[in-house]
């Protein structure tokens, strides 16, 4: 897990200079004034390569964290420990949630701070609003991956997986700057509600639903 987290952090940190250098390369070719005009007029997002990265990161972390737990039957053991089950599950999810959030906030903040040197606040602000749903998708993907993995029944896992896929698609309908302007609070609400989903699988696990 540590190595996975380090790897994910490394990827996110590495993409920052890539995007910054890519932007400067475009500046050299097209000229700053022209590029500003194109970005503003056509709503071009120069960090749109980031769109699916948080989602993949969240999925990977969720799968890598909970698949071994289920395979090795560690989760079963964990729930039998003399420790509040809710707290145990919360701690497990919190670890991944906070780690991901930390990576997203740190690297996202670093990226925007570096771009601040070459781009005005109007553009930075627009890209921040555009990027928020991607990061929320990453956190939601992690929680949904946990939900799918903890589910004891394969049939239900498949159902959960399909529902998760559809739910995540809601976060990625557009990469336009202000597309999610009015619905970002709704996405945050969805992300917070999804925290409850893994507990449903935990209930079923405890009930002894067969695989």
């Amino acid at each position: 897990m540590r190595w996975l987290l380090a790897g994910l952090a490394g990827v996110f940190v590495a993409i920052v200079p890539y995007l910054v250098l890519s932007l400067h390369s475009k500046f050299r070719f097209a000229g700053k004034a022209h590029l500003w005009a194109v970005i503003a007029e056509k709503d071009v997002n120069m960090i749109s390569q980031l769109q699916y990265l948080p989602l993949v990161a969240g999925l990977m972390l969720g799968l890598f964290q909970f698949i071994p737990e289920m395979n090795k039957k560690s989760f079963k053991l964990t729930l039998h420990l003399p420790h509040p089950e809710k707290l145990t599950v919360i701690k497990m999810m919190l670890f991944g949630f906070v780690s991901l959030s930390g990576i997203f906030v740190t690297t996202g903040g670093l990226l925007l701070a570096l771009m601040r040197f070459s781009l005005p606040t109007a553009i930075i602000g627009a890209w921040l609003i555009a990027g928020l749903p991607w990061y929320l998708a990453g956190l939601t993907a992690y929680l949904l991956a946990a939900w799918v993995c903890i589910e004891p029944s394969w049939k239900q896992r498949a159902i959960n997986g399909i529902v998760s896929g559809a739910l995540l698609a809601v976060f990625l309908r557009t990469s336009g700057s202000f597309g999610y302007m009015y619905f970002t609070p709704g996405l945050v609400a969805v992300c917070l509600l999804v925290i409850l989903f893994p507990f449903y699988s935990v209930f079923r696990f405890k009930e002894g639903v067969p695989e």
């Binding site: 004034a33 509040p84 040197f117 005005p120 529902v163 619905f183």
Partner: protein
């Protein structure tokens, strides 16, 4: 307290919502078709609407009385639209309706204006170029800075990404001096350098007054159009016409449309039915003699012909649209559907539409079927589940099946510590 039933309920609601999004989308994908309105242009020669109908891989040119014309005759009776073809064929007349014409005269009086609700239901990055309006050059030159206007107007140099204090203060002072009240509600104009000329930006101030702001000889030029004193301005869309007749179209809260005249800022109202800029589309095809003002609404398209000089409505026609297969089918299947995107807006959020009581009939049958099935196979069924299926139909039923509890799972109610 977190209970399994509560989470199950949330899951069922989520799944139902997702199904109300995905299933209608899939049905629409399989059944949707075009609007079916024929292209219609008004003939200034015979004073009739001429429609271009595509039938059996051929184009037919028909007027409203049913008379059909061949391609050559169509070109001649709709010369304003087909003058290039007539020129090529050497058939362009010297005069039309007693008025001497030439390609230059026709071009200078012709313009096309399109308005889609997406133009209004959107938000742009608050960064705009302020062109030099009187550069003395034929082509406009892109400036090396851009401005944003919110609580203040600010110019940023692109090269250094720094605020241009002097220029910003100059414009701020000029705007305040002319009475502009910050913050600006919106800014309208053409940000492209590929336009025949620049008339700057039209900004609505905090008091609903519409100002023209541009840069002339390197200096700010700010003038109150006084449009805000005459009406409650909601939106403006600018256009550059060859004859500089007006700056653009102004939409007010009474759903009226005006054009804002050049220099005098006189507002000239278009004599058309109320226009809802959040829902309706507009296309204006103007020529030397008249304006074809085409307003497309949900179920119909209205053609208004306005005299080019007097702006009086000289003719009108309404076409009603046949319902598409999707529109015929969905009211019977889905009591409503959810869409996240719309061609009328760039914003993404869940939109509940297509409300239909007809689907309750199908829902009732599904609910009864579900009840009979449960009774027959001695499955526990709750009244709330039946009501849920009655309200949501097979989407709700499907969601219930996806997250159903089996009684055999456990006899004891499980709690998490």
């Amino acid at each position: 307290m977190i209970t399994k039933n509560k989470i199950q309920t949330i899951l069922i609601v989520f799944a139902t919502a997702i199904l109300f999004w995905i299933l209608p989308w899939a049905v629409k994908l399989g059944t949707n078709e075009g609007s079916g309105y024929p292209f219609t242009y008004y003939s200034c020669i015979i004073n009739q609407f001429i429609q271009t109908i595509h039938e059996k891989r051929e184009f037919k040119y028909v007027d409203l009385d049913g008379n059909e014309y061949n391609r050559e005759v169509y070109d001649s009776i709709v010369p304003m639209f087909n003058y290039r073809q007539l020129m090529q064929d050497g058939r362009l007349p010297d005069t039309i309706n007693g008025i001497e014409i030439s390609p230059q005269i026709l071009r200078s009086n012709q313009f096309y204006f399109r308005f889609n609700p997406r133009n209004y239901n959107t938000r742009k990055i608050n960064l705009y170029p302020m062109f030099e309006s009187m550069s003395g050059r034929v082509k406009l030159e892109s400036p090396d800075d851009m401005f944003s206007a919110g609580n203040k107007i600010r110019f940023y140099d692109a090269e250094s990404n720094k605020l241009k204090h002097k220029k910003s203060d100059k414009f701020q002072t000029a705007m305040e001096k002319s009475g502009f009240q910050f913050p600006a509600q919106w800014i309208s104009g053409n940000p492209s350098a590929r336009k025949p000329y620049d008339e700057g930006w039209f900004m609505l101030d905090a008091n609903g007054q519409l100002y023209q702001v541009k840069m002339v000889n390197g200096k700010p030029f700010v003038k109150n159009t006084r449009a805000g004193e005459k009406l409650n301005v909601v939106w403006m869309q600018t256009i550059e016409t060859s004859n500089h007749r007006f700056y653009g179209f102004v939409f007010d809260s009474e759903q009226h449309v005006y054009f804002l005249s050049d220099v005098t800022y006189e507002l000239v109202k278009l004599p058309i039915e109320p226009f809802d800029l959040k829902k309706d589309q507009m296309l204006i095809m103007a020529n030397l003699f008249n304006w074809n003002v085409v307003v497309t609404r949900d179920q119909q398209r209205e053609y208004n012909i306005l005299d080019n000089k007097t702006m009086e409505r000289v003719d009108e026609h309404t076409e009603f649209r046949k319902l598409s297969r999707w529109e015929k089918i969905h009211p019977w299947i889905f009591p409503f559907y959810i869409e996240f995107e719309s061609f009328k807006s760039t914003f993404v959020y869940p939109r509940f539409g297509g409300w239909s009581a007809k689907a309750l009939l199908l829902n009732f049958l599904i609910a009864m079927g579900f009840l009979i099935y449960c009774k027959r196979y001695k499955k526990l069924v709750k009244a709330v589940n039946i009501l849920f299926v009655l309200a949501t139909g097979f989407c709700g039923l499907f969601a219930l099946q996806l997250f159903k509890s089996r009684i055999q799972e456990t006899k004891n109610i499980i709690h998490l510590k």
